[in-house]
């Protein structure tokens, strides 16, 4: 596939493995074995069995009748929110836990922002009987309390991170440091299509099942596929099998925060420039001195100053259109979905839904929105705003 990673670990100018020497053996081990493991028949059988019977895949592609009427077009929702644990993140963590077992690793570490990836990792580890440590920014621990409790109930240790902005970026730094200090027995499950090569490709392959299913579930090709983008794993999952169907318009929606003209935003492609964050070359929000800028978004899962290198590439070669919506627009879109369809979406997902307000439609359009997660974890935000 022409958008796949090359032998050097790059997508065009983006990607690579900008890692300190201490991580070289781990990355090398992963790089030399992941494709073979992922393509192994026994691995595939075990993973697909779990995805079907444990996660509940395939997830429905639901025609949203009232939302479609509201906009005068045809809108389909890919129901990743119905996955076990409430979001697409489990597709990746189950695959990586099985991979870790084959690499004889007994200890799993992960970072989390909204807590969805942390919960999905804790779940997969409980299922396989592996030790699980999740790094989470102290600020995120406060705003995503239910997910913190869930991780603990599932047997994971949640380690608060107090450095930097105390959010996802810093949790990722701390997870990388943990891996440097615990190389032999530990596998690091990155939650998005970020990090050093081969992680962006590994996570892409595990999330690509989303678009594989959409393709089977649709009658013909969609005209548009829309997904929210933080690091970009649900978006890549929803886009991947349509990348070479050039007639399908692919739209990634970033978190605009209070707006891209304010200093409270997380819209990396609107505000960022080229650089290296978390060991891969991509776009990131940074000062003229190369210091990473602390982002802002109402959604902890999108509150990240970088973006996966494949997205940076798809942006530069104009295969995907990246836009952004504000916190406020996302909240309005969440309310609309609640009242028109009886679905409470995650704050992250609400950003994708909000993009509908910026579009003009043909009655014959077939628009797929990746409903990446459900809103249970965001109840306190929704309740506070409703009262």
């Amino acid at each position: 596939m022409k958008y796949d990673v090359n032998e050097q670990g790059f997508y065009g100018d983006f990607g690579g493995a900008f890692i300190p020497e201490m991580l070289y053996p781990n990355i090398q081990e992963l790089k030399s074995s992941y494709r073979e493991i992922l393509n192994d028949d026994a691995f595939k059988k075990e993973l697909s069995g779990l995805l079907e019977n444990y996660v509940g895949r395939p997830t429905p592609l639901y025609f949203a009748k009232r939302l479609s009427e509201h906009y005068g077009t045809n809108i389909y929702l890919k129901r990743e929110d119905l996955c076990h644990t409430g979001a697409h993140k489990i597709n990746n963590t189950l695959g990586q836990v099985l991979l870790a077992q084959r690499l004889n690793k007994s200890r799993i570490i992960a970072e989390t922002g909204a807590g969805q990836h942390g919960v999905a990792t804790a779940t997969a580890c409980a299922l396989m009987g592996l030790e699980c440590i999740v790094y989470m920014g102290a600020k995120d621990i406060e705003r995503q309390a239910p997910n913190v409790s869930r991780m603990k109930m599932l047997g994971a240790e949640v380690r608060p991170v107090h450095s930097g902005s105390k959010t996802l970026k810093d949790a990722t730094n701390e997870a990388i440091r943990d891996w440097i200090n615990n190389q032999d027995d530990t596998h690091y499950i990155i939650g998005s299509v970020v990090g050093p090569d081969p992680y962006p490709d590994l996570v892409t392959r595990l999330q690509a099942i989303i678009s594989e299913e959409i393709k089977k579930q649709m009658d013909g090709l969609p005209t548009h596929v829309i997904a929210c983008v933080g690091g970009g794993s649900n978006a890549i999952g929803a886009f991947y099998h349509f990348l070479e169907d050039e007639t399908v318009k692919l739209i990634g929606v970033e978190a605009g925060g209070l707006g891209v003209k304010t200093d409270k935003s997380a819209a990396t492609l609107a505000l960022g420039s080229r650089g290296v964050l978390h060991a891969s070359m991509s776009y990131l929000m940074q000062t003229s001195d190369g210091q990473v800028i602390e982002p802002h978004s109402i959604s902890a899962g999108l509150d990240y100053p970088g973006i996966g290198p494949l997205h940076a590439h798809l942006h530069d070669c104009k295969r995907v259109l990246y836009s952004n919506v504000t916190d406020h627009e996302a909240l309005e879109a969440a309310n609309r979905l609640m009242q028109l369809e009886g679905i409470i979406p995650a704050l992250e997902t609400s950003h994708a839904l909000a993009y509908l307000e910026k579009m003009t439609f043909n009655p014959t359009d077939k628009i797929v929105i990746n409903l990446s997660g459900r809103g249970d974890k965001d109840m306190s935000t929704y309740i506070n705003l409703a009262t």
Partner: protein, 255 residues
């Protein structure tokens, strides 16, 4: 890189390299610290350009980076401060790839040469990328790239690193973040094998050296040692900078 080369050639053992973070503890302290270290008999200094996301560093250096950035340190300011430092002491700049990339690699190298920097340590700069894209620039501006090796680095890779090196090789005492483990006793076996690696370039050992005993052990097996976190901690606990530099070096060299 001539100053550094000369020191490596004239002093074949017991080299002491001390790391400090530019902009820490106060914004303009760098020249005072470097000059005091020179007076105290330190052989070379490693100057850290602070970065918001130092993934290879432990808590102490993370904190010094954060404080320095809060103090308002910038790359240009560091170059200005470097000009005020003693010219005779070799200077190695340590930072991460992103600040250098954003500043512009060629401009960065040019400035380094101008203010008398001998070499660069950029721990997250991949070797193949260095070789294919940046080696020429480093040579043009007479900067030595100093690479890290760990107890897990394969023989083949050691040879590759040796080929790409031009002054010394930085061996980390154990595969960890900086200052993670207190003391280096557990690294004894690795250290005693360093001489048998058959490398052309001299080795200095860093990470987790915090006492004069650690340093003495390192000096048995390598041309010298690099101390970072322990010095930063010492600065944090002492008021007068110059005095702190002198007492620290005296303490370290007593064994």
């Amino acid at each position: 890189m001539q100053t550094l080369k000369r020191v490596l050639e004239t002093k074949k053992e017991g080299l002491l390299n001390i790391y400090c973070t530019a902009g820490y503890p106060e914004l303009n302290d760098l020249p005072t610290i470097v000059n005091a270290l020179h007076d105290a008999g330190v052989d070379m200094v490693e100057i850290g350009i602070p970065y918001s996301d130092p993934i290879a560093d432990g808590e102490t250096i993370q904190q010094s980076n954060a404080v320095a950035l809060k103090n308002g340190i910038t790359i240009d300011l560091i170059f200005e401060q470097l000009e005020k430092c003693n010219k005779d002491i070799p200077k190695i700049v340590m930072t991460y790839f992103n600040p250098v990339f954003k500043y512009g690699l060629e401009h960065f190298c040019e400035q380094c040469q101008k203010v008398g920097v001998d070499g660069l340590i950029i721990p997250d700069l991949p070797l193949d990328l260095y070789q294919s894209m940046y080696e020429k620039l480093f040579k043009k501006y007479r900067l030595s790239s100093i690479f890290l090796i760990t107890p897990q680095t394969s023989t083949e890779r050691l040879k590759y690193i040796d080929e790409l090196s031009s002054t010394f090789i930085y061996a980390v005492s154990s595969s960890s973040t900086t200052g993670k483990i207190s003391g280096i006793n557990t690294s004894d076996r690795y250290l005693s094998g360093l001489k048998d690696l058959g490398l052309k370039h001299p080795i200095l050992v860093g990470f987790n050296i915090s006492t004069s005993k650690d340093l003495a052990l390192v000096n048995q097996h390598a041309q010298g040692g690099i101390i970072g976190s322990a010095f930063i901690k010492h600065l944090r606990e002492n008021r007068s900078l110059e005095e702190a530099c002198h007492t620290f070096v005296r303490q370290m060299l007593k064994d």
